[in-house]
Assembly symmetry: D2
Homo-oligomer: 286 residues x 4
C-alpha cells in the first residue's frame, strides 16, 4: 500500500438520520476501505453532526478529484454537508508569525524537520529581525515586517500579499500583535494562537506575573483559533504545569514556555490531521 | 426521548471491506439514528476491526430482541462478527471481591450510589469478615468465604454457586487471593483486577516497598483483565502519582491507594460502557 | 522513640541575619535533634522569613509548655517572631460545613478514619438535613442549622455557639453559603474552602456549566483560605482533570468532583501538618 | 547585591545532634545570611543527614577559598561531613554524548543558550557524524569518535583524553553505547543517562516496542546516574505521557521523545543546582 492511497474525510452538517450509512456506503461503493472513523453529534436532538474517516483506496491520488466531485453530488449536496476530502499524507502549508521569543517557533521547526506535524512551514513572518538567522538555518524564508501603530494597515497588507495562496494555516507562535478582523478576512485561512495562560484565567497581558501575584499553584497555556475577540476564540488544546512559591516570575515564565510549546505543537498537529471541528464558540477534537 | 430508547452496539471481527457501511445501513434501515460512533482497525492489512456505536431508536426496549436477531442474521453471520447489542442505560451486574483494604471497594460503592458507573453491585465477596458492616450500610449482601491453602477448592466452588447467573462482571478490589484458571472458566464472565503498581514494573508482592527501595519518583496502579497468568492480563487503565524521598513506604502506600481507586473506577466505568475490547494481550479502549 | 517525642515548629517573621542559627541553636541547646527542616525567604532583601522544623526530643510532651515559654523569651521576642510549636502527632480539631453534595465530606470522613489527615472531625454543620445519616455512621455529630435570607444572622450565631473553643479549623466541603466577615471574625480560626474551578477562571456560580460553554479542555478545583472576598482568599492547592467535547455538563461535574475531593484533602492535610504559611494574598506551601 | 554574592552549600554526613545549629552558626558567624535551606534525615535513628543551603555573603567570590577552608576545619572535620561549597551562579561544565537522535541534545543546547540549566556545554561527543552541523551552530565543539566492538577500548581512551579536567558532568543524551566501569572510573565525574522507559519497567532495548506489545496506557522516561549496572543507577527524575491503542510504535516513540527531553533537562538542572544527593541506590532531590 502506498502512502498516497490513504485518504481522510472530515464531514460536518446538521444532524439527520442515515448520515453514517450514506457516507460509509459511498466510500464502500468507490472501493475505499475505512480504517478508522470517529463520529459525534453535539446534541441528540437538533444537534450538529461531525464525522472524521480515514480510508485506503488504491490509486487515490489519481482518483481524488473525481471522488471529491462525486461525493459532492451524491452525498454532500443531498445532506447540506460541509466536507474536506484529501490525501492523509498531504502536508499543510503553514506560515508562522513570531515576535522575539523563540521557544514555540523553534519547537515547530524542529518537529517539522523530524516529520512530526504533517506541515510544511513555508514562511516565517516577524515584526522583529531577531530570529532571522535561526530560521535561515532551517531553510525557511523569514520576512521582517516591522509594525508601529501608524504602519499597522500597511504591514497587514504586506503580510497578506506575501502569503496569498501560499498557506493553509497561520500559526501565531508568541506573536505580540493583535490581528485585525480585516486581516483575518483577507487571510482566508484559519489562524491558531498560543496564549500563555490557562484561559479564561488571566486574560490579557502579563499572565505569568498575574499568576505569581495571585499565588496559583498551576500555570497553563491555551491554543485557540484566532477571532476578532482577543483570547476568546475556540479552544483547541490546553495544559498546565505545577509551580510553587519558590518559583520567581522568571521561573514561572520558563515553566510556562515548556507548556506553551507542547500545547501549540499538539494543537497544530491536531488541526493538520483534520481532528478539529469548530462548533460555535467551542471545538470538537477527535 | 426516553432513556431506554438509546442503544449501544459493540462489534468485533476480522477486517473486511464494507463493514461500516453494512452496520450503519442496517441501523438506518431499522430507524435507528447513530449519535456517536468510533471505529478502528488494529492493522490496515489483515487486522482486527472494532466498532462501537451509540444510537437512538424510539421503542428500542420492545424492539431489542428482534433487532438483535436480525442483526445476527443480516450482518453478523455474513461477516463472522462478534457483537453485543444492548440498551445503553442497562446496568452491569457486578460482584466485588475484597480482602481487608477498603479504599477501592468503598469508592465503587459510593460511585454506584451516585449513579456514576453504570453498575449494580449485587454482591460483595471477601475472605475476611472485616468489611461486612461497612458494606451492609450500602444495602449490598456480603459473603464471607474464608480461604486457606486447603480450602481453596471448596471456597471457589462456594463463590461460583453464589454468583452463578447473577453477575456480568467480577471486580477484584484489592482481593489478596489468586483466582485459578478453573475458577475463571466456571465464572464465565470477565474479571477486572487492580494491581498496585505501574505494570510491568514491580510485578508481584509489595510493589510500594519495591518502589521505595528502587527510589522511583512516580508510583502507579494498573487495572487489567484477570487471566491465569498473574499480573499479565490485558491492561485497561493506568495512572501514576508523584512521590519523593520524603515519602515513607506508608506515605507511598497512601498515595498509591488514591491512584488505585480512581484507576479501578475508570476501568470499571469503561468496561460497563462497552468501551473496552480485548485484542490478544492488549485492549482497545474507546 | 515515642510518637509524642516528635515536635514541629513553624516560624514566621521579617527576614534578619542569624535566624536559622538562633532557632536551631535553641533547639540543640534544649536537646532536640532536627530531623527535617525547610526554610525560605520571600525576597532576599526586605522579605519575609518562614521556617518549618520537625525535631525529636525525648520527653517532649512534658517539656512542651516550658519549651514554648523559653522559645518565646529567648528567640521569638528578640526577633519579633510569630511561631507555632506543638507535638507533631497532635490532631487538628475540625468542623466540616456541607450542604447537600457528599463527595468532599465523605472523603474527609473516610480519610480521618484511616488516620490520613492528622485531624479529628468533631462536628459536621449543614444547612440541610440530607447527609445526617451518612455522618452518623462515622460517629460524628451533625448539626442541621437551616439558613434563609432572613435567618442568616441567627444561623451564624448558632454556628459560632456550637463551635466556640471546640475547633482549630473549619472546612467548607461544598457548603453553598457565603460566610460573612462578622462570622469569620467571631470564629477566630482559619477556614478552608473548596471552589469547583481552577481559580481565577470561572469565579462565581456554575463553573462547570461555564467551562462547558467556553469549551475548555481541562477543569479544575481550588482549595483556598476563606476571606470576606468570595473566591479571592490565598490559594493552598489546585489541580485539573482533562475533559473533552464528548463530556456533558454532568460528566464534567463528576470529573470535577473527583478533583475537588482530592484537592481539598491535600489542602487540609498540608494545613494540619503546619505546611502552609499565608503571606499577603498568597501562601507558601512546604 | 551582586550575583556572585550568592553561595550554595550542600552537606551530607551521618546524622548527629547539632548539625543544623553548627552549620547555620558557622555561616552566621561569617556574615552569611541564609535565604533558603532544606534539610532531611533519611532515618530519624542512625540515618543520613543531608542539607542544602543558599546564602548571600557580600564579597563571597573573594572569600570563597578561605570560607571553604574554614568550614572544613571548623565544621566538616568535626562531624565527618562531605560538602560542596560554591558560588550559586557558577556554571557546571558539561559534555553531552549522543548518537543519532537529536531531540535531547537540541533541547539541552537550546536551554543552555537561554541560560536555563546552569550549565556550559563545552563538548559534544558522538559515535556518529550526523549531528555535527547542528551542534556547530551552537558554537560547541563536536568530537566524532566512532566505536566498533574492536575499537571500544581505544575510543574510550580518546574520550577520556578529550575530557580530562574539562568537565564536571557527562550527560548521555540518547547515547547508544554502554560505558564501561573502567571508563566511569577514569572519567571521575558523574554521568547522567536518559532511559526511554519508566524504569524499572522495560529494562533494556526497544522499550517503546515493548510498551506497545504489552498494551500499556502510559509511556515514560527515566533520568538516572550511570553505574556499571545498566539501567540500575540511582533515579533522579521520571515522567510519563498517556498513549492509546491508536498510537503506533512510531507515535509512541514521538510522545516518548517529548518526555525524554523534558525529564533529562529537569534532571540536569537539578544536578547542577546541587539539588540531588545519592544515598545508596536512590537519590534525595530537594
Amino acid at each position: 500500500m502506498s502512502d498516497t492511497d490513504v485518504g481522510r474525510l472530515l464531514v460536518s452538517c446538521r444532524d439527520q438520520p442515515g448520515l453514517v450509512a450514506a457516507i460509509s456506503s459511498f466510500l464502500h461503493a468507490h472501493n475505499a476501505t475505512i480504517v478508522q472513523s470517529d463520529q459525534d453529534t453535539t446534541d441528540p436532538e437538533g444537534g450538529h453532526f461531525v464525522m472524521r474517516l480515514v480510508f485506503r483506496l488504491p490509486g487515490l491520488e489519481e482518483a481524488l478529484e473525481e471522488l471529491t466531485a462525486e461525493f459532492g453530488e451524491e452525498v454532500a449536496d443531498r445532506y447540506d454537508i460541509t466536507f474536506r476530502l484529501r490525501i492523509a499524507a498531504e502536508r499543510t502549508r503553514v506560515a508562522v508569525f513570531v515576535s522575539k521569543l523563540d521557544h514555540c517557533l523553534l519547537d515547530l521547526l524542529w518537529r517539522q524537520r523530524r516529520g512530526e506535524l504533517g506541515v510544511d512551514i513555508v514562511q516565517v513572518v516577524s515584526n522583529h529581525p531577531d530570529l532571522a538567522d535561526e530560521v535561515a538555518r532551517f531553510g525557511v524564508p523569514y520576512a521582517h515586517i516591522p509594525i508601529t501603530r501608524d504602519t499597522k494597515d500597511i504591514a497587514e497588507k504586506q503580510q497578506i500579499e506575501l502569503l496569498a495562496g501560499r498557506v493553509d494555516l497561520v500559526v501565531l507562535a508568541r506573536y505580540m500583535q493583535i490581528l485585525t478582523g480585516g486581516f483575518l478576512d483577507a487571510l482566508g485561512v484559519p489562524a491558531i494562537n498560543i496564549h500563555h495562560s490557562f484561559l479564561p484565567a488571566f486574560v490579557g497581558a502579563g499572565p505569568y506575573a498575574q499568576a505569581k501575584e495571585r499565588g496559583v499553584k498551576l500555570v497553563g497555556a491555551t491554543a485557540h483559533y484566532v477571532t476578532e475577540d482577543l483570547d476568546q476564540g475556540p479552544i483547541i488544546e490546553q495544559d498546565v504545569a505545577r509551580v510553587s512559591h519558590r518559583d520567581t516570575v522568571a521561573d514561572i515564565t520558563r515553566r510556562g514556555a515548556d507548556v506553551e510549546r507542547s500545547v501549540l505543537a499538539r494543537a497544530v498537529a491536531a488541526h493538520c490531521a483534520d481532528r478539529v471541528v469548530i462548533t460555535g464558540r467551542t471545538t470538537l477534537v477527535f
